[in-house]
């Protein structure tokens, strides 16, 4: 029969700093493998769509501008992504990667959650097309 077995710990913590991390003020570096925001490198992409097929939450779309010349834009919905990494695993050409630094992705607005990846001019062209499409209201969204 013993009572107050935890006294050692209590005395120790009385004289030590609390274990609580003051999160937004003090940040610990994230581990190297952390799965944060998704990145896409258009250079090597063949447009095979394998990454899109297995995404469990339909968070990525590969928009084909010109199949022959391999001009693609990737639309990435951060708010749908579950950060599972299946797309990264699927891409055999290693076009995709996940950032270990960008993981504080919360926002009060909807806009930052939709990201376009691709070459400058491709994105520009897609934007122009979308603007054009939004003039005819039926097919604005997928």
């Amino acid at each position: 029969m013993k009572i107050g077995v935890m006294i050692n710990d209590l005395v120790r913590s009385l004289f030590s700093k609390p274990a609580t991390e003051k999160y937004p003020f003090e940040k610990r570096p994230a581990p190297e493998r952390l799965r944060g925001k998704l990145y896409w490198d258009p250079a090597k992409c063949t447009g095979c769509q394998l990454c899109v097929k297995d995404c469990p939450s339909e968070a990525i779309e590969l928009i084909v501008l010109d199949k022959v010349n391999k001009r693609f834009v990737m639309r990435y919905h951060i708010d749908r992504c579950t950060y599972c990494g299946q797309c990264v695993e699927n891409c055999r050409l290693e076009c995709l990667g996940m950032s270990s630094e960008q993981w504080e992705l919360a926002s009060t607005k909807k806009e930052p959650f939709e990201v376009f990846y691709g070459k400058e001019e491709d994105i520009q062209e897609l934007m122009d097309r979308l603007d054009h499409a939004s003039a005819t209201p039926q097919n604005r969204r997928d």
């Binding site: 009572i3 710990d9 209590l10 913590s13 030590s16 609390p18 609580t20």
Partner: protein, 309 residues
């Protein structure tokens, strides 16, 4: 003149506002200490005050089927009782605002009145958690009350008076009674924890079983008042025990040091144990607490009778 000063004593210092502030600060100190012992951060110093303001500003929801007068009145009576009890204890190491022979009994019963109000408040509603909480509160009241009283009677007997201020003076002039009556000290301390419903004696408000016990239906002003009452009770309890057992309170510095030291012990005890079931609490008090306090008391009486003390 005397009316004015006693009114001041009642409203501002050492009663009233000063006491409320002290209560909130002691609550903070208690929570902070427990947090530190549990290796976490704990609240900032104004948290209890902020909580009180928030509760005061909130809408008070009166549940169906309660006696409205009691629902509103009980918190007020509870705080009033606690404030009245404060008049007789040497707060901040100063002389009590009021004193007469036998005020120890009055102060103790004023504190019990607070608990009684709590129990009634729970029994007043139809909420099942409240009713169970109320039953437990009152059960616990009956179990710790006697040992706690007995443990405070020890010093009173030695000092030969039932007046708190005189006992305080006697304690200041003699050996600390924690040394001469260690058992009484322990019983008093643990009794105080029972009175304040601190863990491990928090069965009456065990959140994992009965939500918030007797106070489950209280939301706004009433809850704030009950909390304030508890905070005042904390200060008074600490003052009483340290005045009786820790060599009296004769100046503000001694008051601060002794009560805070006591609070630290309370915090350690709070964090050290799992919650006792209500039957375990009652068993502990009547089988161990009351017996120990009685033995101590008898010893004191015998020793006093034979002239050793």
């Amino acid at each position: 003149m005397s009316e004015l000063s006693s009114l001041l004593a009642l409203m501002i210092f050492p009663g009233g506002l000063a006491l409320l502030a002290a209560g909130l600060l002691y609550e903070w100190a208690d929570r902070k200490l427990v947090a530190q012992l549990q290796n976490r951060l704990g609240p900032r110093w104004f948290q209890p005050l902020a909580d009180t303001f928030k509760l005061l500003a909130k809408e008070e929801i009166v549940p169906q089927g309660v006696h409205k007068g009691l629902f509103w009145g009980l918190p007020v009576v509870a705080v009033a009782a606690a404030l009245t009890a404060a008049l007789y204890v040497p707060l901040a190491g100063l002389n009590p605002a009021a004193a007469f022979r036998g005020d120890l009994i009055v102060a103790l019963y004023m504190l019990s009145l607070l608990t009684l109000c709590l129990g009634l408040a729970g029994a007043n509603t139809y909420n099942r958690f409240s009713v169970i909480g109320a039953t437990r509160t009152l059960t616990q009241l009956f179990s710790y009350e006697a040992p706690f009283m007995l443990s405070l009677l020890g010093p009173a007997l030695v000092a030969g008076t039932w007046q708190i201020s005189s006992i305080n003076q006697y304690a200041a002039g003699n050996t600390w009674m924690i040394l001469t009556q260690p058992v009484g000290f322990v019983v008093a301390l643990v009794g105080l924890m029972g009175k304040l419903e601190l863990p491990p004696f928090d069965a009456p408000e065990a959140e994992t079983e009965i939500v918030s016990g007797a106070l489950t239906e209280y939301s706004g002003r009433g809850l704030a008042l009950f909390h304030l009452g508890k905070d005042i009770e904390l200060v008074i309890g600490l003052t009483l025990v340290s005045a009786f057992y820790l060599g009296g309170l004769t100046n503000p510095l001694a008051f601060l040091l002794k009560t805070l030291a006591l609070l630290l012990i309370l915090a350690v005890l709070q964090s050290l144990f799992a919650r006792l079931r209500i039957d375990q609490t009652v068993g502990l008090w009547w089988r161990v607490g009351a017996l120990l306090a009685l033995v101590q008391l008898l010893l004191v009486i015998v020793l006093k009778g034979t002239g050793v003390l």
